[in-house]
């Protein structure tokens, strides 16, 4: 791991501990409130919205693998897969780009070329169809593009196939939303709060098991906050 990653990871961890210890909001999606720049209007250029987040620190960092353009593309793509809205954190809020960027420079190193070629083919498809790369399209055009790719109807794709590219980015988006924050996504447990998952709990009681209501006991537990608590 490079020094840069270490410091970035340490920064992320700091965020996670704070969230675990300080959050007092009930653990239900409705209760998740956070100032959030609303999803760009569907006909406005979507790229800047994503790029703002991508370039602004921990909510969507990159640098381990993606270049600036590709990071904008992946930010935009993953945000359309899991869009944020007020009270509903999306891929950008959760730091999905940062998760994928770190994964591709580590555990998923063998998928670097998959992403490189996938993004190039995506942009080739968008240039043929709209005369612009994916990151510069409106949100509506981006959605249209993703739908075509999901169905494998984009002839610009050879390897990876359009469907394989969609499936992989979707899977990695879900990982970035819902994996422990230690891996660089799920910032401040954004994904877990969205769906109501309480994290790395060590036990549930009989009363918990009998409840027909949402489980809202705080704190949400992340791996490093738990390890820290044990040491302390």
């Amino acid at each position: 791991m490079t020094k840069h990653d270490e410091s970035r990871r340490a920064f992320l961890v700091g965020g996670a501990i704070g969230a675990g210890a300080a959050a007092s909001a009930a653990l239900v999606p409705e209760a998740f409130a956070k100032s959030h720049k609303h999803d760009a209007a569907m006909d406005a250029p979507a790229a800047n919205h994503g790029a703002d987040h991508a370039m602004s620190g921990m909510s969507g960092g990159h640098g381990a693998f993606f270049n600036d353009d590709d990071s904008r593309t992946i930010t935009a793509f993953t945000e359309r897969l899991m869009p944020g809205a007020p009270g509903k954190p999306g891929a950008t809020d959760a730091g999905v780009l940062n998760y994928i960027d770190l994964a591709l420079s580590g555990a998923y190193e063998d998928q670097q070329d998959f992403y490189r070629r996938g993004v190039a083919q995506l942009d080739a498809h968008c240039s043929q169809t709209y005369g612009k790369p994916f990151r510069s399209l409106t949100a509506a055009q981006q959605d249209e593009t993703i739908a075509v790719i999901e169905q494998g109807k984009a002839p610009a794709f050879a390897w990876p196939t359009a469907q394989a590219f969609f499936d992989t980015v979707r899977t990695h988006t879900m990982e970035g939303m819902f994996a422990d924050p230690i891996y660089g996504g799920n910032t401040n447990f954004a994904g877990w709060r969205l769906v109501g998952f309480p994290g790395a709990q060590m036990q549930f009681t009989q009363e918990d098991m009998q409840s027909k209501r949402a489980f809202t006991r705080e704190p949400i537990i992340g791996l490093q906050s738990r390890a820290k608590r044990k040491e302390g």
Partner: protein, 574 residues
Amino acid sequence: MATEKTDVVIVGVGAAGGILAAELGKAGMKVIGLERGPRFKTADFEPHDELRYFQRQDLRPNMKRDPVTWRPNVNARANTMPSLNNGNQAGGGTVHYGSLSWRLHEDDFRVRTKTIERYGEQAIPPDSSLVDWPVSYAELEPFYDKAEYELGVSGKAGNLQGNKIEGGNIFEAPRKREYPLPPLLVDQSAVLFEAGAKKIGCHPFSSPRAIISQPYQDRPGCTYCGFCQAFGCHVGAKSSILVTKLPEADATGNFKLITGAMCYRVNSDNTGRVTGVSYYGPGRSDNTIEADLVIVAPFIYDNTRLMLLSKTEKFPNGLANSSGHLGKHIMAHMMASVFVTFDDRYINNFMGPSAQKHTIDDFNADNFDHSGLGFIRGAQLSIGTPNLEGGPIAASTVPPPPGTPRWGAAYRDFFAKAYARHGAMVAQTENLPYPDQTIDLDPNVRDAWGMPAPRVTYDWRRPNERARVEFVQKKLVEIGRAMGGPHVWPAPVSPAGAPGAHHEGGTRMGSDPKDSVVNKYGQTWDHPNLFLIGSSTFPTMGTGFNPTLTIQALAYMSADAIVNRYRKNPGALL
């Protein structure tokens, strides 16, 4: 090259190998166990990390290092399978399994005879190699009992010496005594499934699991943390071989475990005796163990592969293969899923042991009349979590209901609402054995040690199997509706023909050396001092039940035969 001598070498110290290590060690035999993976401690399982253990499968074989390839038929090119469910550490799959612990039914051991009696011979697909087992339930019962008590299984009897008991599995074979531990607590998915299944006339019960519901043998009871299938247990409540039999084997003073050891050959001489094994150790050292008795007990791929890799001039088709049946009759459970979500109530199925929590046996084996259905045998129907694990990454693999996309704002809102309000039902369907479902050596793909990868040729999409899957998936939909779920939908069943869970076969047991590889003790017909133990010896799947307890009962039976009979007359057939 280092050479060691010992009485017994066991390759693979998992569900079966761990039991043999403890039993043979207790009987005074010097045992060396070889394990390709590491030996973990309970404290290693503290991180409840869904990405690492569920998604990236940290306790399972790394398919880049240990590939197994698959092709649907002999004309297709084989590709490396994305993942496998067996273990990659001391304790094997019992470290991360869902711990379902089933006995087979009495008639499962004479499935061919009973099927013909009830439906006629034409009910059996002509290309299937469905056979009776060479062992009966009555023979195995004491060993099932021993496994349940020595390991620690929680459940409720449904048939105590012939008396049917409400609340247990009334279809189960008669058992001598109750389970050693009461059933695990039920979660809300089980409560709903219980009510729904009863409404359509079925007999639901808490699945028996090798997870202790109370303190037992100095181990604490389950904490219901939910990080269960795919994870090691952070308190040691899962009755894995790692926390039960390995400490027992250690205590005998007769057992030595070598980790990081990849066995690449069983050595033999020209008399038909095996003389020991060779293995690559840490740092790729090349080592040999000379042993009077060789027990091979890894997952099924390595059983067949090792026999093929160990061929000699005298045994050109591999060891234990005079019948020509080595590597044939591969089987796997196909999984058909149905999902149910509620609008108004939470299920929170991230709580409690995550796999197959509550079960009905009504449509399993031959527990229902198959006349006119177009298929034989059945499935275990149960409720639990998607892909047997309760975290949100597992839930993100659930195909959303028809009309809901897999991405975008509509998907986000579906997921945010459904995650804590859903139940996942699965029908685990028994597949019949077919001789053309095989394991051999892949001519193109090699593992990290340079050995050819095992290659599976398998396609579950046969008429009998398709009809069964369709039937049981409809039953699950009925149960979902009876549960009161406003949203009930089936997942598409695997469009490709790849094997599902619990791969079995390849070294099938029988009573005739001409059509089987081993006898009921796992002793190879061709080399009486070589035993192959594990689900590779299953001649049929038995049922839609998970195989581990039957593997363990058979391991106890083999250990008993080795200690009390074989040892008195080594080298003879049992």
